[in-house]
Symmetry: C2
Subunit: 522 residues, 2 copies
């Protein structure tokens, strides 16, 4: 695993990195081809590596020199070090045996688009700095918006608009700041300490972090409790009563983040009824569809976004399940002027005729950062290179594989599925031999009418924790966990670009083998 | 320019993008080589393109289809569209005739590192998610910190530490939030509205934007006036008197952003004396060395950072002048725990043994976003592939070329250099024939003792604006401008990776030709 198998591809001519020409076209060509071959070989070999890196903390410090070399080193030497020292420390997100977190699924087309982005290396802060970076982004955001059947009010063609940000964290922070400033205009800045932000206890931690950065009082962040009875979706009644209590207390409701496909269980908050509540109290509603949004290009999943027409903004991560390399978070807003009012700056050194004419989009005013990469290229490459039909098929095949895994779990009485599957992720756990299925019901611990001892819950949790750690330590698969109403649960997310049925079946075998071994030792 | 000149490199075999395998190694190899050849040809031809794109707003909407294709399109077709429709809309930041803004200088090594980052496509939010992404970052940040001769207190080896962020905007926002939270712990959150942020009128707009996002009251943002008499550096006396007035008014000084190499003129704020003032009043001092920080690896420029030992944090953009593709902002802090206290989140789905052991760095707690790319790879490639000696030489050659341009300007009596040159950027302007050199002195408009009429100032400004627009419209060079004490000034920044002396000499000829034409018409 540590030897270079791309040796034969190497041009044996001595490297000319001494060349003072940093972008010499022929040297670029020679070294570029070397890296392509390196990566092609990496993908060919990817199943040979332990999925989760097995290194110990601090491993790399022992292997690398203490300081930057004084003289140039040939690319061949550096690539050998990548193979010997970098690859062992990688947790292989592109491995077909990676079922952890949510996938970060790349593709050839996405990679090519990113290469062009890096090759052109333009900084598209405003239109004039590279007109196509802005124009292609407005076009692909409308394309993708239409694929999702978004209301026209979210598209440029309907006076809304989309922007590509790095991550959902940024999308939430930007929209929250816009909402905050709109509200403070109405109620006066002296009331900033009264603003309240709402999510559920299943909402991504990005919401709380954004609220904190934006200066929302930590006491005014609401993570409304969800239960298994609603499959961990946020209940509109709970939202309403929480809002009412806050208003009663003299606070000002500001912002709701609803989720389509939560991180723990892929729960879907009921957008329509939540937006109804939010409308009654004037909240900005952001919909975080980071993971599941991409699936909504398939009609059979689009229902999960019903009600979106009443929201103010929506984001999804094309780098999760739309085969675009990290990072690519697509954010649509109905009212771009709210973002622009909060986030625009106009330093003299960026002034130009096009911006002054107000005929162009200057994306610097839609985001936190000034500099921005030409991310639209990779999304455009993905959309064109695969086409709508294939993209749907890719996602459907992942869902089918998740169903296959679900079926396998269901057939083994030692296991249970903890929440119903919505997309391509299964939450399951193994049960201690003393405990039957259905030990937990509706958020309460019951076993044939009898309360389980706290001890038994702990036993079950420790068992699953041990099972997960044992599987991950084997290097054959990588899965992660969550905790639901004190239950430790294993998450099995299908979505790697290289995954096939055989990997899912093998993963289930790994689960069974490790469970058998652990149960027999217990 | 619109025809493909890489046709001969194309594999004529029909593209198999219908292949459902999104990361098929052999298909990856085939298409990857195509893009490398495309980009190598792009660099070979780059001087043929107009530097600043000449397209009109909306040009691309007319050329692309209205929606995503249903079926896959071959990569060959997409690349032809890149050549025909994307390239004309690019402002060529990698062109040797690009002298605008500050450069975003790439390199072969930086490109290779970014390719590997995209190829591995790992999400390094915490250590376990890909240990090497974290460990390599801690190592290269210490390497670069040592190259800059930073005090050990900023390095991991001295209990500080570095992190790679996307942009300076993020670095400033993160450190400001850390400073804010520390201060609010002391003075109570109810005093949030009293916090004051300081910079100069030359500080980058990123500071004001960060303050706004972090909820600093807009009235509490201070852009302290600078003058030509101090070469637009922030005066410690002005800072002290501003702070005193704020304290007098019952406000709480929080955060100072000092700059090494301002955007308009590359002015250098005197760090030592500013930190002395800041220390007296307990401010957090952040040093923004976005552009000029990289040059400080050369001993002859390191003096500009003198006094850094008393600052709290420092950032520089390796994507500006350290040959690393966008984005790569290096941030060092003396007290990582301040960042972590403000920015950490601990959702259950990310919990793991390594993090719980507190033996590892989890970079998610050092930045705004959760997801993060493996940016350390490209910086590591750049440092190793060129070595310290060459990197210094690259920057010195840019400075020499800037000196050459400076000399050429000085020899033509129709022009003047507006502020002294510190690094590789010249601020100059052409004078109306009625106006002699030195018309502006020490911030006051004087002409042999006589005040110039406002009309004459306007004439001079219009002349320079016309000159700049005329040069940029020619497509032969791209420069940008700034305004200093009502003077419209042209900025000439040297730093493109492909730039050679001949480009600088040619750029000066372009300036002279266009000036001659405009002056003769005036």
């Amino acid at each position: 695993m540590n030897s270079l198998n791309f040796e034969h591809e190497l041009n044996l001519q001595h490297t000319s990195s001494h060349n003072s020409n940093l972008l010499d076209p022929e040297e670029f060509r020679r070294q570029g081809h070397m890296i392509i071959d390196f990566l092609a070989d990496y993908y060919a070999d990817i199943e040979k590596y332990p999925v989760r890196s097995q290194v110990e903390p601090g491993y790399l410090h022992k292997r690398l020199p203490k300081s930057t070399p004084h003289d140039p080193e040939p690319i061949k030497t550096i690539l050998q070090d990548v193979q010997d020292h970098i690859v062992p420390g990688i947790t292989h997100w592109q491995s077909p045996n990676f079922f952890a977190y949510f996938q970060c699924s790349s593709s050839i087309a996405g990679f090519l688009g990113e290469m062009l982005c890096t090759g052109f290396n333009v900084v598209g802060f405003n239109w004039i700095a590279s007109p196509v970076a802005t124009e292609l982004e407005t076009i692909v955001m409308d394309w993708l918006g239409e694929m999702l059947n978004l209301p026209k009010s979210f598209l440029f063609s309907g006076n809304g608009g989309g922007v590509i940000q790095g991550t959902t964290c940024e999308a939430i922070l930007c929209t929250m700041v816009a909402a905050r400033d709109q509200m403070l205009c109405q109620i006066g800045r002296e009331n900033a300490g009264k603003l309240v932000v709402y999510g559920s206890d299943q909402t991504h931690s990005a919401l709380q972090k954004a609220a904190h950065i934006a200066g929302i009082h930590p006491k005014n962040f609401r993570a409304i409790k969800t239960t298994k009875s609603t499959s961990f979706a946020l209940s509109p009644d709970s939202l309403r009563s929480t809002i009412c209590a806050d208003i009663e207390a003299g606070l000002v409701p500001l912002y709701l983040c609803a989720t389509v496909g939560t991180t723990s269980t892929t729960a879907v908050d009921p957008l329509g009824s939540l937006c109804d509540v939010a409308k009654d109290y004037g909240l900005w509603v952001h919909v975080d569809a980071a993971y599941a949004g991409s699936a909504c290009i398939c009609p059979e999943f689009r229902q999960f976004m019903d009600g979106i027409e009443a929201a103010n903004s929506l984001s999804l991560n094309a780098h999760k399940w739309l085969f675009t390399p990290l990072d690519c978070c697509c954010l649509w807003v109905k009212d771009p002027s709210a973002l622009i009012k909060s986030l625009s700056t106009n330093p003299e050194f960026l002034r130009n005729k096009a911006s002054d004419s107000k005929q162009v989009v200057d994306y610097k005013d839609w985001q936190i950062t000034l500099s921005r990469r030409f991310r639209a290229l990779k999304l455009w490459f993905v959309l064109r290179s695969y086409g709508v039909a294939n993209l749907k098929n890719f996602m459907r095949s992942h869902v089918e594989m998740a169903k296959l895994f679900e079926g396998l779990v269901a057939m083994d009485k030692r296991f249970e599925i903890v929440v119903p599957r919505n997309f391509a992720m299964i939450c399951f756990r193994v049960l201690p031999s003393t405990m039957g299925r259905g030990a937990y019901q509706n958020g309460k611990v019951v076993d044939n009418g009898q309360k389980l001892l706290k001890e038994e819950i702990t036993t079950a949790n420790e068992l699953n924790q041990k099972l997960l750690e044992s599987m991950n330590a084997s290097g054959r698969v990588y899965m992660t966990h969550t905790v639901l109403e004190d239950m430790y649960v294993i998450r099995f997310a299908v979505g790697a670009s290289l995954v096939e049925e055989r990997h899912v079946i093998m993963a289930w075998k790994v689960v069974q083998e490790h469970a058998t071994a652990i149960l027999s030792n217990n």
